[in-house]
Assembly symmetry: C2
Homo-oligomer: 252 residues x 2
DNA sequence: ACCTGAACACCGTTCAAGT
DNA sequence: ACCTGAACACCGTTCAAGT
């Protein structure tokens, strides 16, 4: 391996970028680029497959280079979580103040977080499971900023301080339960591999002896299996959110 | 290292066990013993520290021996989840049939699962995050048997079949949100290390410049921090469960 | 039948060295 | 200033070999 400088691309790219430059594969590393690539990698291949070494090659660099920008794998994962939460601020449907009432405010926030969960089903479990900076910074609303906005919004709308805190707790646990279930359902095809394949295999292999055994020992399950397999996540989310808002109304 | 047979213990133990035997450290491996030890290890040291090699030495055996009983690390973790769910059946407060009404039945089940989560805060996230055998086997109620019992119980109490399915969905997402938050709060002292230490460090270091910055940028957060830090998990669980039962009542 | 030694491919992370 | 090579300690997993 001669130690040539990084290979130049045919010019086409470089011309588009600027006058002339090292190729786009050679844009310097940065913490932001590393984290964004990590998110994309998790989206594409699942959390399990993400290693410092693979992320390095994904960036056209040796793994050791990453340590200039993140202190280690753990911190990288924390940065991934932060990156995801940051998407909230870029969501134009989400509003930072309850200009149309606290219900509208809360609903927009909930939907914004749901969009993040569904956009990154393989990464969302990180938002749920990473230990937070403080026990009162509860997933999935994990940033100081958004917790402040949430509490301030409710207080501005007439909630007592204790009421706002109680609402924060109810809101987070509602979101966590729903979105974790929904995102795991959405992301099941990539994490442990071949779950999609199994589902199809089921409908052939299982309809043989497997389905019979299910029917024997778990008759109701066998009967309700089609109903259980239907996906009503969206409407359930709306209904539960509605119910939550009624509860919060009572806390006000 | 002479290839002597496994060392005998001083007799005291062996005498208690049977007449005379290889020492208790030499009881043969078994899948059950491996899984139980894995659960204990996770409880004690956290999931991250569990490796096949460490689990081996914990059992007084080389890591390779484990592969006679589990096909790999992934399957071991699945077995851990199964082991935890099995504890439900041994909980004498939990009842398999709604002999005192469906509310009592559902409540006992919820409390039983909560006890498991609180007994194994470091392992419970596995119950939440491991991909299930089927998408309709939702965490944290992950066994065919308990889902069957739940559905059958509600149907026996007058729920329509679709009502029972809807109740199952609402029940699982309620439990998941609450228990994941509660167990992560309970288990924060062991997973990533020194979170307990940080909490104390906070109250000294943070009350300096850190607290001021918090107060400046996030005034409400700074003010409500004590309220947010209080732990009302138990009463919130009861209240939310109560609310859930009312919702289920309406589904009936 | 049950366990192990040796080996393989892969990790995360460090540090001195290269450009 | 930024990246890399080499090295270390540790993984999961396999397979032929030991008892």
């Amino acid at each position: 391996m001669p130690s040539t400088p990084p290979e130049q691309v045919p010019d086409a790219d470089a011309a588009l970028v600027h006058g002339h430059q090292p190729p786009s594969t050679r844009v310097p590393l940065s913490r932001e680029r590393i984290v964004a690539t990590a998110v994309a990698f998790i989206d594409a291949h699942g959390l399990v497959d993400l290693s410092m070494r693979r992320l390095g090659t994904e960036l056209g660099v040796e793994a050791m280079s990453l340590y200039r920008y993140v202190t280690g794998r753990e911190e990288l994962l924390d940065a991934v979580v932060e990156h995801l939460v940051t998407e909230l601020a870029q969501d134009s449907e989400v509003v930072r103040e309850p200009t149309h009432g606290w219900q509208d405010f809360t609903q927009r926030l909930a939907h914004g977080i749901r969009r993040i969960a569904l956009a990154h089903p393989n990464a969302f479990p990180l938002v749920a499971s990473r230990p937070g900076q403080a026990p009162w910074l509860r997933p999935p609303l994990r940033s100081l900023e958004w917790v402040e906005l949430f509490l301030a919004g409710l207080v501005a709308e007439g909630f007592t301080r204790d009421g706002a805190v109680a609402a924060y707790r109810a809101f987070t646990s509602f979101l966590l339960g729903h979105l974790l279930l929904e995102s795991s359902q959405a992301g099941a095809d990539v994490g442990p591999l071949d779950v999609i394949g199994d589902t199809n295999a089921d409908s052939t292999a299982e309809s043989g002896a497997g389905q019979d055994k299910l029917a024997g020992q778990h008759p109701l399950l066998a009967e309700l299996r089609p109903a259980l397999s239907e996906n009503h996540a969206a409407s359930e989310f709306e209904e539960s959110l509605e119910n939550l808002l009624e509860r919060l109304q009572r806390m006000r």
